[in-house]
Symmetry: C2
Subunit: 311 residues, 2 copies
Amino acid sequence: MSTDGKTPMFERVALVGIGLIGSSLARVIRREGLAREIVVSTRRAETLARARELGLGDAYEQDAGKAVEGADLVVVSVPVGSSGAVAQAIGPHLAPGAIVSDVGSVKADVVRQMAPHLPPHVHFVPAHPVAGTEHSGPDAGFAELFENKWCILTPPTGTDEAAVEKLLAFWRACGSKVETMTPEHHDLVLAITSHIPHLMAYNIVGTAADLEMVTASEVIKFSAGGFRDFTRIAASDPTMWRDVFLHNKEAVLEMLGRFIEDLFVLQRAIRFGDGDTLFEHFTETRAIRRGILDIGQDTAAPDFGRGPKKS
Amino acid sequence: MSTDGKTPMFERVALVGIGLIGSSLARVIRREGLAREIVVSTRRAETLARARELGLGDAYEQDAGKAVEGADLVVVSVPVGSSGAVAQAIGPHLAPGAIVSDVGSVKADVVRQMAPHLPPHVHFVPAHPVAGTEHSGPDAGFAELFENKWCILTPPTGTDEAAVEKLLAFWRACGSKVETMTPEHHDLVLAITSHIPHLMAYNIVGTAADLEMVTASEVIKFSAGGFRDFTRIAASDPTMWRDVFLHNKEAVLEMLGRFIEDLFVLQRAIRFGDGDTLFEHFTETRAIRRGILDIGQDTAAPDFGRGPKKS
């Protein structure tokens, strides 16, 4: 449709799942003219109706199998626990030569779920755009979501190189920086950079909610001291995150074990008044922060104390 | 000095300690004309020289005792572990009727440290402005730091009511919302809303830095998935935070014990694939977030995925 004379990268892109990521993809594909046609598919009739109201696609199909027919790119954007069922549903309908990808926050398990259902005549290139907000659903998406964010591809060995290159080019066109690695390594990296932080945030907000000596309204009122940032992360989509933890179990438990060991060292230092251990630990962590500022992944603007009027 | 014809609230304010909080106070006191004279005191000669270069006060004293002479308001803004030593140094020099306050993140222990050294002819009204950034030192301060932030006063029973009212008015004039409570309750509230979140942030950044299977540069590169927000908190001043944990030991250990118990429930749910427990937990935490948005302590703008260009 909106190709402005350019030849679009794909003829027909099928987006299976139209939440935050799927609907952001729909918007950026349209803006950049990356496909001649966008087919939107989602299982729930009311979500599909909402996608239609928002004008996210050119065609709408509740049946994922029908949606992928004739598509040369299929992107599955569903909670990772549903990946296998979606692959089974779309497998028989995939066109020869189609690139099949996903956006799951977990990769090894998604490959295990999806690969057996995909015919040999398609190219399966799993992907994970490391981008998101604490909001969910088709209304939450925006075309700029992937800008300057990393997208990690984890193609199984033996995957057609042209297909990988094409998907890399697609994500670059969506604004992302791209990287490839093995699914297993991806899962370890994301366990520590994303999954464990989310678990901590969910946990501390839960602990706070259950206190009997401090009321929820006090917690809310005095949240500016650090807690508030955790509540934002802990407002993320529960279904998505349940599935992340269930399907990246090994890496999450490994990282969690290390986190707890380290926490016991700090707990012991507090109990025995060992200020040197605390000071040393609190100093080391600054180097990582400097690294993040150095490569422009965040700004040094004092954000901690941000008030309502600033954002 | 800068009183614009108004009678300033105080004749002479002595600021002992001129870091992030002390220097922000100096700036807002000046801007609002809250004192006829500001005396800045800090132990390190080079910090005092820097305060002078920044023009933060009207007079500068390395000796805290000299600084407080003739002051009708003294605000001690030092790491809480130094509160007792500062009280001892200033005690004999305090003017009759002076209000003596502090800004420490811990209150019961600060009262224990300071009260014995203060003469009966002064009014001791401990305070805690719940405001800060991850930056420290006299250059980090700004006059707007306290705007719309809470300041909690914890006057011991029997404190002169006029002195408490005057300090409440002072903090309101600095832009704060004010609240009073007991030191012990303050320490529980802040343990969960601030101290434990900081400990988690310090700990997870430390765990990430020590991994052998994921490099620090990978952690830095892919930090946008949640980890980045923790690194900001974990970049906070190590001396201040060492002292917070050492001096709010009981409340921190109590909250940490609860946090760890709750974490083990989630860990077990992950290990045994109990998705219902995870989902239920991840849903409950949203209510707290809604509460924070409802009272305007944060905005719903999707901040999680913020990129370099947005802030």
